[in-house]
């Protein structure tokens, strides 16, 4: 929409345009702020986060295998966010044609931004989804770093699946996986 604005409505002076753009961006999806109390939570205090705030593994059938988030009291909100992001994941998967499905890149990129967070997605070939939510104030994280986080996550997940005592479809309770996830997440300061 921004691009359209830019090209087709050269109505404002550059200054007013950038201002508008700022506002647009802010109001872009102002859900989280306006509805955070839905979930009966205030905004969490911003901390100097470097990493993800929520990491989720979703089964092929779209139920959660693993969800971890910091801070813990925002859990419900993250559940909603992750669940909603599945729509986008499905959209992105179905956008790739059937024939191309094999060569599809696992990393889906930014699924959607909310006011507070950026949601990234990754889908394995077995349709297991990984979702990483990053604080949007966190500008230090580049796409490449997110990508490598997903790769790490995927490797650890593969290890979990290789465990003969793990029953596919069960929630993940592996300590190794947990520690990998913890390493990727910011501890609430």
């Amino acid at each position: 929409m921004l691009t359209r604005l830019k090209t087709q409505v050269p109505l404002f002076s550059m200054n007013s345009y950038t201002k508008l753009r700022e506002k647009l961006k802010l109001s872009g999806l102002s859900l989280a702020s306006t509805h955070s109390h839905v979930i009966r939570l205030g905004r969490h205090s911003r901390h100097n986060s470097k990493m993800a705030v929520c990491i989720a593994v979703i089964a092929k059938e779209n139920y959660p295998l693993f969800i971890r988030s910091v801070p813990v009291q925002n859990e419900l909100k993250f559940h909603y966010t992750v669940h909603t992001s599945l729509d986008v994941v499905e959209e992105k998967i179905s956008a790739v044609g059937k024939a191309m499905a094999d060569q599809r890149e696992l990393y889906l990129g930014l699924l959607y931004p909310t006011e507070d967070y950026k949601v990234y997605g990754y889908v394995t070939n077995s349709k297991v989804k990984f979702v990483i939510v990053v604080d949007s104030s966190n500008t230090s994280l580049r796409d490449n770093e997110i990508r490598s986080m997903f790769r790490k996550l995927h490797n650890s997940f593969t290890d979990v699946m290789c465990n003969p005592f793990y029953n596919p479809g069960d929630t993940i309770q592996s300590k190794a996986f947990d520690s990998i996830v913890s390493a990727m997440m910011v501890q609430a300061s």
């Binding site: 007013s16 306006t34 909603y80 729509d87 179905s94």
Partner: protein
């Protein structure tokens, strides 16, 4: 965005319609008042024109105006909405009311949307949104930057009843002019300075003079022209005349909104309650909302209720009488009037104005406008950016003067738009937009952009694509620059609708979501809901986004006080989250639904929703769960408070129904002091299938014994404790006045503790008298079930006279705990009982302080009463094919006991019952039998897995059954003793007593006279009660002797006491009592005995003529606990046999007692002689001590006989048969001997001698010496074969082997030579030395008697050959030779055990030592055809000394 009733085009057209003002004289107002309407209201239903109109555009093209609608309103001079763009409070309230009253119909059609694996049930339409939108657009305030809702014309209405109507018209006209031009009023706003005035003469047909009206109208026509006035005739009907006539009421659907609107706008609403009420009563959907729930909706509604009565009546009256004086003709007249006004008056007026404006613009465009812009470009162009920042700040304040040329374009555009000249409108808007933008008049620009976009969309044939970005920009500008949310919202609504029509759902959703803000919850809610609908309507439906936005919408609805809508949103969202594993979200939604439902007085739904949160294994924290629970309880309490009828089901705690156990009978008393009660069955025991089978087997045995060997076909083993593994197909039997204990397994799934109080069972009971003969009437008459369900709702009021129900006052369940509760019922009447479930108060503990619920009464201590049913599914049926292929379950009658008449109830106590014994130790204990019931008990029997473990003694002998006193027992020996005569040497006395086996009642011989038929009555003992019965309340103590098992180790010994009622014919034939003891047996002595044939000749006595034996008894102390047992004394050795008796002890040592300390061994030797076969068992004693123990009396003999049984019973039938043939069967003799040489042969080697070793052990216990006594048995069966007191282990193996080959005959092996050589026993009798005077007589003749005795029971042919000579030279040297004289070979036959003496003569030639043992004896069984004679054992050298006497 949901589907709408109107199409987009219709919607937009209706949003912008020409506005017409009304100025009414008072008289005219009176005329319309008759219909309860004012003039504008009167016209409203007819404002849509059904016919087409025509007009010419500026280029003189004829244009068709279709489906035009006009809006007629009274002139209101007060501003409705502050121009700031923030809607006022009243306005908000109006919108809120509109939405509130528009609820989805109860049974509304919902369509099912399938997306992926979701099937969603969503109503496609959202009428509340449309209603909101309509109200919103209608109540848009008129603003200066646009003219769309400025008044175009004014209707001046005067009644014909006016004295001088023309004057009045003049007055009104002046009034209108004043309003528009005096500048006193900013409101209403007028489109064009010279507003069209249309003169309407209103004539009341029922009152006025019609002709006068016509004449006035003629006058008017001349004055104002035929197209500028109208005569409207109404009220043709007198109110009284056609009251019954049904006239459609087209006003009702318009009026509620407008009345509301006008009242709100005018600020007339005196009391909001009245308003709401009239609204309620006029609204068609009111029928759907339950009006009988007072205070149901919210505070608003509550106010309404308070002020209900007076406004109700007026409201109803007002509602019913709309248009009461109007006939259908009048309706047509009004319609015609509107049409006339529009086509003759309004449209030409507009046409004229458009033309004027167009001319103006065209003329100006040429020079001033272009020049102006050109100069601007040239001179100020470079400076625009810098300037604009400053300008932007106050753009909202920038106002064009009304006559500004920019506004003229806009005005023209609006006019064109209103009359559907969209092409023209677009180009005008476009031009205006450019102008405004270049002037930085942002608000104006936005308005122009918006309308340009709309008119572009509405253009027929769509020459250009819809410019969505115009809209976006307009919205941004409205909102951010002008801060006018109302306009922004209008713009967004229009844009979203357009986008939706173009299937750009994603864009529409984004647009709608962007419009949500904190300032209006209602708007946000509605828009979010629409956005959600957009997501679901996408080509690839985004279900989860839909759900999420629904939740957001629901939240906003609830904030806006629209609880019903909120609940609906949450419910729709729930469909997506339900059962997909997103438990946290699911819980949140359920919780919210629960709360909303509760506030909406839908407690059932609330309870269901809360139940979901509580029963699922939620991942919530404990505080959260605690809050959920409290809220649930609170809601629940309110539900139950409302309806008292039936107790509702509670979801908590979870009950594991199938694990329910039912126990019949009293709870077992534990050991009290020395008394030790029978263990019986208790709920504390785990069910063990093997044990149960064992008990059942025992019971079957004892029943068979009691029923004379036949187990009745209806036999069913008594089950005292029913659980999931027992057979629950039949109704269990319980006895009246005996408790029924139900054990229920509770599980608390939550992380917070639960407290149940006043927990008791729910039951249903049908009285039945089992003593009376059951007739049909009886069963019908009695079949009125009594239940405690009613009473249970009030704790502690119960029907105790029928069945006493025990109540557990408090039952605490820790977080995530599984706990058992035992609940008792005590039936007082006979009948059929059904245990239905449980009833209890559920409460949470007040551990966590923070309560999330708003209501203060929901604080701690809330407890609700409810029930849970116990439904037990029976086992799955798997018999027939049908059952196998389908899943069907059998019945489970665990909880449906039949209460039968009283039965005796036995209690058994054991006194001084040991837990540890030495192997073979004899201990005396006491048993107490108690009849606890009111019915006499009889037929007491006991069955046991170890019948050899105990005995109650025999009654036939004069044994004093009553013990002296159990306490003085310790010093008393269990045995009866008899002092030996002082003179007699110990060990030499052998007393003989004859005892019959039957006396000891050992198994087969039952005292009832039934001779031991051996049908399973092996381990059953009848218990000798006083008179065979036990009266109610009576108790008897009996002595009981116990003997330590022969095997060391821990033995589990089961007793099954069987008893019957003295009154026969009850439903229960018998009852049983179980007891299990554990006895630890430790090693005592090991006794090995061997019997050897002695070669000595029998004594002279006749009965002992047939040989004797030597019995060696080898006793070893194998006790390993050196600390406890100091030494063993062999007190006495007794024997029991039908053929043998033990004689005196040949003991080399002189000791009186044989003492054995640890690991010592001793050997005793006895001589046994054969005696006449006797029917009874003689006990011969050969004591080692001075005190003789009478072995033939109670404990000793009992145990001796009991010992025999297991051996036999353990043997398989084949073994029994073979054994039976050669043991004890005296009379059989040699009848069947011909077939079985081996048997016969073996028989002669057989000794059937049982040895009883009585011992004493000196044990130090607690620094006190205790003497323990015991007895060991050794059964000697074969000569020279060692027998041991410890049963050999290989016996079991032998059993198995025989079992595997039952068809194999007993091995017919030829008896070995060695065995055969034992047939005949020879003995030579001769003088030891013989003096013979060889010098006198050279030949010395010595008479020798050869005694032959047949050891076997068969006839034996014997050949004695004397001819044989020792050929070896050595023997010759040693012995010298002699010859036998006379007959040297004999052939004879010996009968069974016959002794024969043969007189021989030996002839010696010299003095010397000779061996007489030369005769060779050959023997063969007489009837054996083949000669298989064997030489009999050579006798030991029989030396004779021949002395030469001189």
């Amino acid at each position: 965005m949901a589907q709408c009733v109107q199409s987009v085009q219709e919607f937009i057209q209706d949003s912008f319609v020409p506005m017409v003002a009304v100025l009414c004289s008072e008289d005219a107002e009176k005329v319309t008042r008759k219909n309860n309407l004012n003039f504008s209201e009167l016209l409203r239903p007819f404002c849509r024109l059904t016919s087409e109109g025509h007009m010419r555009d500026p280029s003189n093209q004829l244009q068709v105006v279709k489906n035009l609608r006009i809006s007629v309103n009274n002139v209101v001079t007060r501003p409705s909405v502050p121009s700031s763009g923030v809607p006022g409070h009243a306005h908000r309230r109006l919108l809120s009311e509109v939405v509130l009253t528009c609820q989805p119909a109860e049974g509304g059609v919902a369509n099912v949307i399938t997306a992926g694996d979701y099937d969603l049930n969503i109503s496609a339409t959202t009428p509340w949104f449309e209603a909101y939108r309509e109200s919103f657009l209608q109540s848009m305030p008129a603003s200066d930057h646009e003219f769309l809702n400025h008044y175009l014309a004014c209707l001046l209405v005067v009644s014909s009843s006016e004295a001088v109507p023309v004057e009045k018209f003049l007055k009104l006209s002046q009034e209108q002019h004043r309003i528009q031009h005096s500048g006193e009023y900013t409101n209403p706003k007028w489109f064009i300075p010279n507003t069209l005035k249309y003169y309407v003469l209103l004539h009341d047909m029922s009152q006025g003079d019609e002709q006068r009206a016509d004449s006035v109208y003629e006058d008017m026509k001349q004055r104002y022209g035929a197209q500028g006035c109208y005569l409207l005739k109404v009220n043709s009907r007198t109110a009284a005349a056609g009251a019954d006539e049904q006239i459609p009421d087209p006003w009702s659907q318009y009026l509620h909104k407008s009345s509301l609107q006008s009242q709100v706008q005018l600020g007339l609403a005196p009391s909001y309650g009245v308003l709401v009420n009239s609204l309620d009563n006029t609204h068609p959907l009111q029928l759907d909302t339950p009006s009988d729930t007072p205070g149901s909706l919210d505070a608003l509604r509550a106010v309404a209720v308070e002020t209900k009565p007076p406004p109700l009546t007026t409201g109803v009256a007002a509602a019913t009488s709309h248009g009461a004086c109007l006939t259908l003709n009048d309706h047509d007249r009004i319609r015609l009037f509107i049409q006339e006004f529009t086509f003759r008056g309004l449209l030409p007026h507009i046409e004229k104005n458009i033309r004027q404006l167009n001319d103006q613009l065209v003329s100006r465009k040429g020079l001033s406008r272009s020049l102006f812009s050109a100069t601007k470009k040239w001179f100020g162009g470079g400076k625009v950016p810098e300037k604009s920042i400053a300008e932007l700040k106050n753009t909202s304040g920038l106002l064009y003067p009304p006559e500004a040329p920019e506004l003229q374009i806009r005005k023209m555009a609006d006019l064109c738009f209103l009359v559907q000249l969209y092409d023209l409108a677009y180009s005008c808007y476009h031009t205006a937009k450019k102008d405004f933008l270049s002037d930085q008049a942002m608000l104006y620009a936005a308005g122009a952009l918006e309308m340009a976009a709309v008119s572009a969309f509405l253009q027929v044939g769509a020459p250009r694509p819809y410019p969505a970005h115009y809209m976006d920009t307009a919205i941004q500008t409205y909102r951010d620059v002008s801060k006018n949310m109302v306009l922004a919202e209008r713009c967004a609504l229009l844009s979203a609708e357009v986008l939706k029509s173009q299937a750009k759902y994603s864009d529409a959703a984004t647009l709608l979501i962007k419009m949500t803000s904190e300032d209006s919850d209602l708007r946000s809610a509605l828009l979010l809901e629409q956005a959600a609908h957009c997501f679901i309507n996408m080509r690839n439906p985004m279900v989860r986004k839909f759900a999420f936005h629904m939740i957001l919408a629901g939240h906003r609805f609830s904030k806006a006080g629209q609880k019903r809508h909120a609940l609906r949103c949450y419910c729709q969202a729930m469909q997506v989250y339900k059962g997909k594993g997103w438990s946290l979200a699911e819980d949140h939604i359920n919780f919210t639904i629960g709360r909303q439902s509760f506030t909406l007085r839908q407690p059932e739904n609330a309870v269901t929703a809360f139940r979901h949160i509580l029963t699922n294994d939620s991942q919530q924290t404990s505080t959260q769960q605690g809050a959920f629970l409290r809220e649930y309880l609170y809601v629940y309490k309110n539900v139950t408070g409302a309806c008292e009828v039936a107790l509702p089901q509670l979801p908590l705690p979870c009950i594991n129904s199938s694990a329910t156990r039912v126990y019949f009978g009293h709870e077992r008393r534990l050991a009290e002091g020395e008394k030790q009660a029978a263990t019986h069955v208790s709920l504390d025991q785990e069910f063990d299938r093997d044990l149960a089978a064992m008990w059942q087997d025992l019971e079957e045995q004892v029943v068979a014994a009691a029923k004379r060997g036949v187990v009745p076909a209806t036999f069913q083993s008594t089950q005292c404790c029913l659980n999931s593994q027992t057979d629950n197909l039949r109704f269990p039997l319980a006895v009246v006045e005996e408790p029924i204990i139900v054990e229920v397994v509770f599980r608390n799934p939550l992380k917070v503790p639960l407290v149940l109080s006043d927990l008791s069972l729910l039951w249903k009971f049908t009285l039945k008298d089992f003593n009376r003969p059951q007739t049909q009437e009886d069963s019908v008459g009695d079949a009125v079930p009594i239940s405690n369900e009613k009473e249970a709702s009030v704790p502690r009021v119960r029907k105790d006279d029928v069945i006493a129900t025990e109540v557990i006052s408090e039952f605490y369940l820790s977080p995530e705990e599984t706990k058992l509760a035992r609940l008792k019922l005590l039936p007082h009447q006979t009948g059929q009982l059904n245990i239905l479930g449980l009833v209890y108060n559920l409460a949470s503990t007040s551990s966590t302080g923070d309560t999330t619920i708003n209501s203060p009464s929901a604080a701690e201590g809330t407890s609700v009463r409810g029930r849970q049913d116990l439904e037990i599914q029976g086992p799955r049926l798997n018999q027939t094919k049908e059952e196998k292929t389908s899943v069907s379950h059998g019945p489970d009658r665990r909880l449906d006991p039949t209460i039968t008449p009283p039965m005796p109830l036995l209690e058994v106590f054991f006194l001084q019952f040991p837990t540890a014994l030495l192997c073979g130790e004899i201990r005396k204990a006491y048993v107490e039998f108690c009849n606890m019931s009111r019915v006499t008990l009889c037929g007491l029997r006991v069955a046991s897995t170890h019948p050899d473990f105990f005995t109650f003694g025999s009654s036939s002998l004069a044994t004093p059954l009553t013990p002296l006193s159990p306490t003085s027992f310790e010093n008393c020996s269990a045995y009866k003793t008899l002092a030996t005569p002082p003179g007699a040497t110990p060990g030499s006395v052998a007393a003989v007593t004859l005892v019959s086996e039957g006396d000891f009642g050992s198994g087969t011989g039952l005292r009832g006279g039934v001779s031991g038929a051996g049908t399973g009555g092996k381990g059953i003992t009848e218990i000798p009660l006083g008179e065979g019965t036990l009266k109610p309340g009576e108790s008897t103590q009996l002595p009981m002797w116990l003997r330590g098992p022969d095997q060391e180790g821990v033995h589990e010994i089961h007793f099954l006491f069987y008893y019957e009622s003295a009154e026969k014919g009850g439903k229960i034939s018998h009852r049983v009592l179980r007891h299990t003891v554990f006895i630890c047996a430790s090693r005592s002595l090991s006794v090995r005995a061997t019997a050897c044939r002695s070669n000595t000749l029998p004594e002279e006595e006749e009965e002992e003529r047939n040989g004797s034996m030597l019995v060696f008894v080898d006793v070893e102390n194998i006790n390993s606990s050196e600390a406890g047992v100091r030494e063993f004394h062999i007190a006495q050795v007794s024997s029991s046999s039908k053929q043998w008796r033990l004689h005196k002890c040949i003991n080399p040592a002189e000791d009186k007692d044989c003492k054995l300390t640890s690991r010592e061994r001793g050997k005793l030797c006895f001589r046994a002689t054969r005696c006449k076969p006797l029917q009874a068992f003689p006990f011969s004693k050969s004591g080692v001590s001075s005190l003789q123990i009478i072995t033939s009396t109670t404990p000793c003999a009992d145990f001796f006989f009991r010992r025999c049984q297991p051996l036999e019973s353990l043997r398989p039938p084949v073994a029994m048969e073979t054994q039976g043939r050669h043991s004890r069967s005296q009379g059989v003799g040699h009848g069947g001997g011909d077939k079985d040489i081996a048997g016969v042969v073996r028989k002669c080697n057989e000794v059937d001698l049982d040895i009883i070793i009585l011992w004493k052990a000196f044990v130090v216990e607690d620094n006190k010496q205790v003497i323990l006594e015991g007895q060991l048995h050794v059964a000697l069966q074969t000569i020279d074969k060692e027998a041991c007191s410890l049963t050999p282990k290989e016996e079991a193996q032998e059993m198995v082997l025989l079992k595997f080959k039952p068809e194999l005959p007993p091995p017919m092996t030829r008896p070995s030579m060695e065995q055969l050589s034992h047939l005949i026993k020879t003995n030579l009798q001769y003088p030891e030395s013989y003096s013979h005077p060889f010098n006198q007589k050279s030949l010395c003749m010595v008479p020798v008697t050869l005694t032959l005795s047949n050891c076997s029971l068969a006839q034996v042919d014997v050949i004695i050959d004397l001819r044989h000579k020792t050929t070896s030279p050595e023997s010759l040297e040693v012995h010298g030779s002699f010859t036998w004289l006379g007959q040297t070979q004999f052939k004879m036959q010996l009968g069974a055990q016959e002794v024969m003496r043969v007189q021989l003569r030996a002839c010696f030639l010299h003095a010397g030592v000779y061996n007489l043992g030369t005769p060779r004896v050959f023997a063969k069984l007489a009837d054996q055809g083949a000669m298989c004679e064997t030489s009999q054992q050579t006798a030991t050298p029989a030396l004779i000394i021949i002395i030469n006497s001189t």
